[in-house]
Amino acid sequence: MIYFININKMAIERDDIMQAVQELNVPIMEELSRDIENLASKIRGFIRSQIVSFKKKGALLGVSGGIDSAVALTLCVQELGSENVYGLLLPEKESAPSSKILGAEICESLGVSYENVPISPILESLDIYKKKEQIIKRTCPEYDSRIHKTSLILPDFLNQGLLNVPYIRLIKDGKTVSKYRLKASDYLELIGLQGVKQRSRMVIQYMVAEKMNYVVCGTTNKTELVLGQFVKYGDGGVDLEPLADCYKTQIYALGKFLNVNEEILTRPPSADTWSHYTTDEEFYWRMPMHVIDQLLYSQEQHLPLEIIEKNTGLSRDKIEKAHRHLNKIKNTTEYIRAIPPIYYLSK
């Protein structure tokens, strides 16, 4: 039996809460995997209500071959019927080949019509690959595009405790051969270049969705949302976000419940925008998914340190450092989540 205390709703003293929480030994990971059938049902209801309120005929999704879009697509099909859902595969030169295959497989298995629209020509027309290559070359003198794959990484947070300093990593024959620190100006340019990938996808999604009178359904999860791990007006440019209140751990639980393809379930999460498949843990989270989700959840629920220590196995000192680190990320990414502030003439 799994017990859960919703601290926000209990009008008892904090000491009592701590004692009760300790006695009941709140298992965060179990809590995040609890009542998934009900969760799926509520999300389905949300999808329908949004489409009705927007007066649209169906939903279009970008299908990446990852867990988030697989779950969102499945829920849309269950609620709206496969005939009212449309999938777009939007690969580019640096996407993992498996992404397209897995994306096509899930569309076919759900009976969803889909099309493949490679975005490489758009990126080439804007010199995105060329400009990216120039940054990599000036950062990594030994870089040779014929033999090296590349990825953007951040140092591990829990074991190294280093600053959030980005590195370009060169990979040859599957092995890391070197890494170089990126200059701030190059990092900023690179983020802008990389963002064109998600923003191009958004443009195509709306081009097709408007023709069909469909909504564009987003696939951002709560872990990504609170950390600002999405591109504003890119993958964040959608009509509804049915998964954005579910941590990544909950997305996996939903994926299992919905019988999503095992290969998608076991694939490490990634934005899939580097020639070497770079996981979210390596670039963004800097710690394993189960740890970051437990930390974010414990912040949200104001869980006491004792409980977080017990759940994560981290020391008190590391938890406090991680909380400060996550708070900094939340603050610095506030503008990504913000809708454009409006100056009201009457105020």
Partner: protein, 81 residues
């Protein structure tokens, strides 16, 4: 040491979110006080590397070495020796 510290203060006054009148202690946190953010920190690393012609080793890119004026000054002093 004092020269390095003044140089960093001048840099922060010109390139960070601090006002010209902002006062901060040698050991105050630059990130907690909102003087620099994560991008500002990367720019500061670049500035120090260029100004003092030093390559800062990865294991020295720690919050302890970069989050206060004293930490930054000590680190530069050590590496520029």
């Amino acid at each position: 040491m004092e020269q390095i510290k003044n140089c960093i203060i001048d840099y922060l006054k010109a390139n960070s979110f601090m006002d010209k009148d902002t006062k901060f202690g040698d050991n105050d946190s630059l990130t907690q006080s909102g003087i620099i953010d994560s991008i500002g920190l990367l720019e500061l690393v670049d500035y120090i590397s260029e100004k003092y012609s030093i390559e800062i080793p990865e294991d020295m890119l720690t919050p302890e070495n970069f989050d206060s004026l004293q930490g930054i000054t000590n680190m530069i002093f050590k590496l520029a020796k």
